[in-house]
Amino acid sequence: METYIEFREKKYKHLILTISPFSPFNEVLKILNSVRIPWSKIRIDQLFYAVLELINNSIRAQKEKDCHDKIRLEIRIEGTWLKLKLQDAGGGFDTARLPYDINAAIQDISLNQPSFLAYREKHQYKRFGMGLFITKKTFTIFRLTFYNEEDQPVDWIPEGKNTHIKGTIIDLGIDLVEKNEGRKQTR
């Protein structure tokens, strides 16, 4: 089976989309909606809805800093796996401010818990605080890191100014076809 990404009637194994944080958001939506993976057994629209939330977060973060660097979404097919890497220059963020523990197992987090309600109320319902959670739930591979000007991974320092952080990288992955019986998953 040929595995590929389809974008604007061409096939790719590897696609990089760069997004200006000051682009009209409807254009961002249209571009993302143009990415097709017709051989996938998993609904691609649901995968990209999750990614759209992350892109929205990146746009917001960069706008708050008046940062005009392009946000980069790398889309790659490796065998039957979809691999995504989203990178922004939004300065990172304090994951402790999320309404849940981002390191907790998905099954231990409930979107009905009071902290989500409090978060929504605090942000006047303009932010739900669910984007990263939905992404973790959607993708098999989820890895969030911060990086500095030298492109090196760095940690968020609680109570610190964190000016050493340039931005956030989120790596995602999912197998787009059903697993065969008896085959060991090596990724």
Partner: protein, 109 residues
Amino acid sequence: MKAENKRDNDREICYSKVFFEEHNIPGYIRDISKSGIKVDIPLQFTPPEGECSMMIIPHEILGLPPFKTRCEIRWAKHSTIYHSLGVLIVSWASEKGKNDYNSLIDYYS
């Protein structure tokens, strides 16, 4: 960008949020038309019978404040991550809200 159209009104791919206040349920608009929207809810939700209140929260880029509507949930489907709802807009709480709804459609068409 058009979504598949099985209704009288053309539907546009859309990104905005909704909040069903009476049920404390957040959701995401996926497509929008003059008469209604498709919404994805990322948590368990039993759609109510009859009308309910729904706040539409346009994407911040539009600079529009949230506005309230009365709506009916016409259909519901569940997939792995979301419950999808077909929502008919019955009325808007204000004329401004109705105008802002039309602005939302215009932005995404």
